[in-house]
Amino acid sequence: MVDRKAFPRRTFLELSGATVAACAGTPAFAGEFATAKYGADELARKSGRRVLQAQCPYCGVGCGTLIQVENDRIVGISPDKLHPTNKGVQCIKGLNAHEPTYRDRLTKVLVRKDMSDPATGHVSSTKGRFDDDVFREASYEEAEEIVAERTAHYIDEFGGNSIGLTGSGQLTMEAQWIENLLMKGVIGSNSIEANARMCMTSAVTGYFHSYGSDTPPTSYDDVEEADFISFWGHNARAAHPVLFWRVADHKKKNRVPTLVSDPRRTGTVTGLEDIDPRNSHHFQTLNGDISYLNAIAHVILEKYPKAVMPEEWLEQHSTGWREYIEGIRTRYSPEQVVERLRYVDQGRVTVEQIEEIAKLFAEASIKGRERGRGGCLTIWGIGYNQMLHGQHNTISIINLHLLTGNLGRPGCGTHSQTGQPNAMSERLMGGLTGRLPFNKSLDNVEWRDWMADRWRIPRERLAHTATLENPMVIGMMERALAGDLKAMFWMYTTHIHLPDVETLVRPALTKLFCVVQDIYRHAPNLLYADVVFPAQTWGEWPGGVYIQSERRLYVNDGVGRSFDEQGNTIEEARPDLDMAIDKGISVGRLLGLNVEEIFPYKRRTEGPFAGSFDPEEVFEDIVRASRGSDADLTGMLEVKEKDGTGLYEQLRRLRGIQWPAPTYEIAKAGGTPRRYMGQEGWKEAPYALFPKQGGKAKFKLCEQDYGGADGALLKEVCGELSQYGANSGEGPWLYENQELLIRARDNALTPEVPDLEYYRDHDKGIDDAKRDDKYPFWLGLGIVYEHFHSAKTIRGPSTLRLVPEQYVELNPEDAERYGLEDGEKVRIVSRRGSYEGRVTVGTSSMVRPSRCVTFPGYLFSPWNLSVADSADPKKNRWLVNAVAHRAWDPVSGQADYKKIAARIERI
């Protein structure tokens, strides 16, 4: 290493030399980023590096990424200019995706010396710690045997449903397939969940309800065709930058109006206003989206009948529309809505605003229909999904689109933007309770038998699984705490994404026997793991498919090897797929299943991926099984047979295929860009109709009511909900009180309501709230642009440096009123826990990133930094989900992280 610091002159001369070169000459091949103008081959030639094709490992936009490899190590990332999603552009997270790859890696198989054993009731004394002394190293085979024996024992004694699994929207499609087979087929458990549950399931169940299939009908290319684009609960500029800038480019070029519905003035709002403030609108609402969507429908019905689809069309293509229109007309005029929501929204959204948006929406709808292209494109994100009534949110959007016919044309539609790179696949693979692969329910006998045959397991085994119940992921944690669940597998995810970490999740994990597959040595899951397997990560897998938000399947190539920070090969690191297969084989064998038949895959003995299974074989099984579903991919098999192009190779060459691709031609053309086009004269296109309900979509009026001007109903329900999570480790269990959740959902309430009267009392200061045990603030948890989730980007120096510290966004008015200064350290306290952060006020705060402004009475913190100070609970001060409430949407299972009642305490 060059001793640059000892001789500043060196640094200095290098520096000046570089400055001169940068100013004077044309840069030659400048390493990392000046390379996006190249495709994969060209990049490889110019850089002299091996180049692999992959989908970016971060958000659900799913940018095409080129991984630069040197000596089997990932050394750089370039955007793929040939990929239709990002066209050679990538955001700051993706461009630095190689940085955290080799940091803090888990290198050995670890077994906790004092393991919890729910069979005997023994609870480990060392849970909650992950120091070296609580683990011993073990061989992979030994650990595998421990896991298999214990699992088989629990299955014998307590039944298959006593085993749980949480998968991930970052696993490959193949691993998700195997993991689902492992749980539902081999173990015989319906307790399989995934972190996709907290991400997208409101959209999933909403789509199911309205369209009959979990199929987002849109493509990103619709952005460039749209006449009106709205973002609901979606800070796209931070969460999905490449998508946002496609929208921004389109707005700039074609002056399309936009709407953002968000309680904060986010970068998305200001970014669009920078382009043109006159046609950029912002609904600053908290929880009022359903009502406002209904009110928009009301104005359109009353004032713009031309924008409403004719009755014959509605009758032909949908059900429930009469009741919907009737309800809208009587209960959702803008005046009624603004008045009804006043308790929470304080009239921040006005009647005039609603009418303006309705006008724009109607105009765009008419324009789109006349041209046969364009119309309204509605995009929503996690801020919209993570509500007690998330499913109703989705349904409300779809209602409005059906009413105005903004569906089945290029340039319009309902676009749910997933948070994770492969959440769509987790949904498609059915890696959730009660689901089967390809958008089918476990109760669908015909498909269940088909899947049992494809999985090569006895049909009755899957039929038995279908009888089991699991109240989704938070309910599963409650079951664990109540003693109903005995063991859990964690694959490529973390428990800190769940709400109510301190009083629900961690006490539950302490009692359970936990098997963890992870890549980082100090990942929070290791605190509660009994057996730990080091996993390979993105870029290291020997292949695997991701599906991003426009239904695009894309392959993730990898080097097949893992390294630690010192550059030593991690021999024990395996792909999650391999570990899932191994577990299936060893558990299945103990259960007396014919494992050779279920898992016919063979480890490769030579080549760069020697010792690992071939994911392409599994993928071929998946494609074969998709036949006849509305996600049919078997056209790819035809292409393989006719042209001899391998499945992965097809994905590589086409830069992804959008499902479904049922025929040779469609597969060759890159799949199906849009769905549900039957009503626009596209009848001949495959899968054009709504797949269920007699080819009809379903209207359903979703209601919202806080119970009068003082929010009486809201307070009553929230009062009842507040008892859940108040006692650590004990009941009552919310899964036993679904009526309460249904009541909250049907009135579109929040899980908690702050002491708003207390907040409005200007005599009360910060310290009074603590004394009086009041929670005067709303608190929302979300994400920050520089980080993705809570593991990788906080281990990458470039991104961590930019936003290194937990912060709390505070409205300037509140800051002044309570005498809190920018940069001050405070503690945020809810009924269930607390965390610390720095106060950031306004957009010129010294506390980074200072981009968003909340409304008075609303606080915001990102969850990305939850473990950036330390994963160790004793030292951790930033774990935000300690304060979140466990209440979930009884249909979708999603919790609401955005409306927590909190107070600020000075430190």
């Binding site: 610091k5 000892a6 001789f7 500043p8 002159r9 640094t11 200095f12 001369l13 520096l15 000046s16 030399g17 570089a18 400055t19 001169v20 070169a21 940068a22 100013c23 044309t26 840069p27 400048a30 390493g31 990392e32 980023f33 000046a34 390379t35 996006a36 103008k37 370039s78 955007p79 050679g88 552009v89 990538q90 955001c91 700051i92 461009l95 630095n96 930058p241 490449v242 800038w245 921004a248 480019d249 700039k252 920078d274 642009y785 520089e786 470039s798 440096r801 930019l802 936003v803 957009t843 010129s844 010294m846 980074r848 990133p849 200072s850 981009r851």
Partner: protein, 210 residues
């Protein structure tokens, strides 16, 4: 002492001696000037001068010749620097030896201004407000910046800028625009820039080292 036999001073001799003294003194002064100038022009004029664009001095530094003259090379600024960004030139740097500098690329100044408070020589002049500091000006290379050359969406420099929306504003794809009148030259943007091998945004001190 020059004295006559009677003990009284010999004025003539004294005068002569004085004259010789004056002569000696002027010769000495001349020699001093020659040697000094030679040193200034020659031995101490290290190559720093040729690459003057890059060196950042800590905030509040006097103009370069005055700074070099006034700085007593005492380390206090470096020891007061919490970020550790202030470094001192090593023994081979001629007249710069022992003077403080900052390589923003590796670690930038966070404008805490502690160095200006401890400086005992006044060569780092106390600055009332961080926005009045002028260490240099950030310069964006459009070909290297990912937001400007069309290969990415970044915005790191804007996020890092302590005077965001004044010194740096964001445009399409978070592309930065530096406003010279507001930029203090702290280098936080350069430190944060994600183009690692060759920073796309650099602070140029604009100091004259001649």
């Amino acid at each position: 002492m020059i004295a006559r036999g009677d003990g009284r001073p010999d004025r003539r001799a004294l005068l002569l001696a004085g004259g010789r003294g004056a002569l000696r003194l002027s010769v000495a002064a001349g020699a001093l000037y020659v040697v000094g100038t030679a040193i200034r022009r020659g031995a101490l004029a290290r190559p720093l001068e040729e690459s003057a664009t890059g060196v950042l001095r800590p905030p509040g530094a006097l103009d370069e010749p005055e700074f070099l003259a006034a700085c007593i090379r005492c380390n206090l600024c470096a020891e007061a620097c919490d970020t550790g960004c202030i470094r001192l030139f090593g023994p081979a740097e001629g007249r710069h030896t022992g003077t403080p500098f900052i390589v923003a690329e590796e670690r930038a100044c966070n404008l805490c201004l502690a160095c200006t408070e401890v400086c005992p020589s006044g060569s780092l002049f106390p600055v009332e407000d961080a926005s009045l500091v002028r260490m240099g000006t950030a310069l964006v290379d459009e070909r290297l910046c990912v937001s400007l050359n069309g290969t990415g969406v970044c915005g790191a420099c804007h996020t890092a800028c302590p005077l965001k929306n004044e010194a740096i504003t964001q445009g399409n794809r978070n592309a930065p625009t530096v406003h010279e009148d507001a930029c203090v030259g702290c280098g936080l943007c350069e430190e944060a820039c994600i183009v690692h091998d060759r920073k796309a945004i650099r602070v140029v001190s604009g100091r004259s080292f001649a």
